[in-house]
């Protein structure tokens, strides 16, 4: 069983390469803004995975993890700012970015960044789920897209929704799970690794769809 957990953990790291690989030979200039932001986020995510994987057995990676969470949340909010762009949305995206940044600042001020805290990631997860559902409902009435599966933003949105919905409860109990003496509780983290693999596969599908249809 331990081997199985190790394999899933390793795959979770390796699959972070997958969406980045699909950017191969694509010119950054030709990409749409959400894809550009996604690329930056994926590169950062990849570096984070590598660094965390390397640091995990040697020193605490809480700083890196918290900064990554902040950048991840910010990147996703910026992506949604572009894809949910309307006169109305401009009014709530700026306060949302300010609110999220404030949460990070407060966590830093309270000295929470040196610890593995679930405060920021839970807020990020809730924000992303709300944005993702909002976008899905916007997508219903969009007749300009002939087929959903040919549209990269559908896959991008699906990846965000599945990953963050599936991981919400894991993130809420993240500290409890990761620092628990009970091995069974710690093994719950494998769920996150599985969702992470699915997440990266769907992100890769999103980039691949864009390459294919350019929609």
């Amino acid at each position: 069983m331990k081997v199985f957990y190790k394999i899933v953990e390793l795959f979770s790291v390796l699959f972070a390469f997958l969406p980045v690989l699909f950017y191969f030979k694509l010119k950054i200039k030709t990409l749409s803004t959400p894809l550009k932001v996604l690329f930056c986020y994926l590169v950062f995510s990849l570096l984070n995975e590598i660094i965390c994987f390397w640091l995990f057995s040697r020193t605490a990676n809480s700083y890196m993890y918290n900064i990554f969470t902040f950048v991840e949340g910010l990147s996703i909010i910026v992506i949604y700012k572009h894809i949910l762009d309307s006169e109305k949305s401009r009014f709530y995206f700026l306060p949302l970015i300010v609110f999220y940044s404030l949460c990070f600042a407060v966590a830093g001020f309270l000295g929470q960044l040196s610890k593995h805290n679930n405060f920021l990631i839970t807020i990020e997860t809730v924000i992303v789920i709300v944005l993702s559902i909002t976008y899905f409902f916007r997508l219903i009435n969009n007749v300009q897209i002939p087929k959903l599966t040919d549209y990269y933003l559908f896959w991008l949105n699906t990846s965000f929704l599945i990953y963050f919905c599936g991981s919400l409860f894991i993130f809420i109990f993240e500290t409890f799970i990761l620092y628990n003496h009970d091995k069974n509780v710690r093994n719950l983290w494998i769920l996150h690794n599985i969702f992470n693999i699915v997440y990266n596969v769907l992100l890769a599908k999103s980039v691949f769809t864009w390459r294919k249809t350019k929609l």
Partner: protein, 268 residues
Amino acid sequence: MEENEAVIFFVLVGALIMLSLALVVIFFVALHRKKYLVQQNDILRVRNESEQALLKAVIGTQEEERTRIGLNLHDSVGAELSMVKLNLSRYVQDKSLVFSVDHLKKEIENLENAIETIRGVVKDLYPKSLQIYGFITAFGGVVDRLDDSQTITARFNCTMPEAELGLDFPTKLDLYRICQEVLNNLIKYSACKNLMIDMLPEHNGVKIIFTHDGIEFLNADADNMILQNTGIGLKSIKNRTNLIKGKINYLRQNDNSVIEIFVPLKND
């Protein structure tokens, strides 16, 4: 230990529920979008069909008018010119015939009749007075001519100045044709003695009301005749009214028959 088990249970069930909810949302969006697209396609198809029907009706109306003009020319002008040609040919073929001034006058009279008929057809084809003086004066002239014929007492009331009509020239031309056809139908079929035509401003449009004391004719009668293809003029009126996005109603009010035509302004 119990706390750990509770958390494991809570996380597993929570993750399962949230994941299910996410999948339900995705499934719902895909399904609803499919329905929405089908609905949109249906609307588009119906719109295309009605546009095609309208186009067909317009072409049909044009064809009917061409036929009518052709028949007019053939029956009246053609016959008169043929008669003139026949009479004049007699002098060429038979040298013994003496050509008199009376004969010449008669032929000139026939030619004048033919010219008058052509003038009438041309006037009918393109009412120049409509372009020069506008709808109110042009149509007022038509009503005055009808009144002068002394078969029907006709009056046209319009207090609005031409500038306030707010209709562009193609709409005015269509409205003029509609009113002409209505008058034509009234003369032919209504057996009315008195006719009152009022032109009134309406909210976002103009209304023309024909009130007469002739035979009752209602919306149902008009629909039946159009359905049975017996009312070519009625069909033409309906097509033209649809073309300018107007409405026509055949009613009965205070023992009088009423025909109401509503024309919306262009920006509506």
